[in-house]
Symmetry: C2
Subunit: 187 residues, 2 copies
Amino acid sequence: MNSSRPGGRSARVKAAVHQALLDELVEKPYGRIGIESVAARAGVHKTSVYRRWATLETLFAEVAEELAVREVPVPDTGSLVGDLRTVMRSSVRLFKDPYGAAISRVLVAESDHSPALAEMSQRHWERGVANLRPVFARARARGELGPEPTDERLVEALWAPLYLRRLVNRKPLTYAYVDTVIADVLG
Amino acid sequence: MNSSRPGGRSARVKAAVHQALLDELVEKPYGRIGIESVAARAGVHKTSVYRRWATLETLFAEVAEELAVREVPVPDTGSLVGDLRTVMRSSVRLFKDPYGAAISRVLVAESDHSPALAEMSQRHWERGVANLRPVFARARARGELGPEPTDERLVEALWAPLYLRRLVNRKPLTYAYVDTVIADVLG
C-alpha cells in the first residue's frame, strides 16, 4: 500500500481506469463518455485521472495501444493458408471481443476529427502489415505465392472483408467466412 | 408563405434542418451534436424540430436514407469491368464527399448502440447488392463471369477495400486503386 512503490497504487489506479474506460466503451457511444464518468466508475477521484490523462482521447489512445500490442505473434504452420487462417481467426476473435469491438468502432468514429487517433489507426495498420511480412516471405520461398500481389495489397484484400462485416454490413463474422476469403484471395 | 401548402414552409424547414445536420456532422463527432445545436444552425425554433424529429437518431436516419437513395443508377457499359469501374468510382466520390464521408462514419460509430441504425446499415448494404445484380447477370450472360463467386461475395470483395481505406487504414482512395481492386478480384 506504499504509493511510491512501482506496481503499487499508481499501477492499480491505471488498471482500474483502463478497465473503467473499456466498460464504458462497451456500454455507450464514445460521445457520452467523459473523464468524470470513467473516474466514478473506477472509484478514483477525478483529479487523479485528470492529472495523469489530460483528455479522454489521451486515455483512449493508451488503452487502444495496449490492446493492439497484445496481438498474437504470427505463427509458422508450414503453409500460407495455415498461417493466414490462424492470424485471421485471431482477428475475428478480437472483433467479437466486446472490448476489441469497441476500440475498432471508436477509432473509426473519432479519426475524422482527431489527428492523433487517425495517426494511431494508420500505425496499427502498418504494424499489422509488418507483422505479416514473414508469412508472405516464407510462402514466396516455398513457391506458394508469386511476387505479386504485394504484401500490402494481400493484407488489404484479406482483412478488408473482416472489417466490412464487423463495421459496415454487420453480417456474421465466422471462421468459415475466413476460409472463403482466403480461398478467394489466393485464387 | 402558406404553411399548409406542400413544398412551402414545412419543406423549407425540412431542407434547412437536413442541411444543418449535415454541416454539424462534418464539423464534429456525432456525440457532440444535439437537436438544439441543429435547430440553432438551421435558424428554426427547437420546438419545431422536436415536433417533427423526436430524437437526433430519427433525424440522422432520415438524412442518411435520402443520401443513400440518391445513389447513381447502375450503368450498362457493355463490359463487367466498365460497369464496376463506373459504380465503384461513384462510391469513391461519395466517400470523398464530406457529407457522404460523415454519414458512413456515423453509421459505423452508432450502429453498435442503435438497433435502428444497425438495421439501416444492413438495409443500405442489401440495396447496394440488389442494385448490382443486373451487372453480374449481364456479365454471366456474356461469359465474363462463372456462377461462382456469388453476387454477395463479389460485392464484398470489391467494396470492402474501399471501406477499409475510407474507415480503417485511411490510405488514398483513388480511381487507380479501384482498377487494382477490380483486376485482383476478377483475377
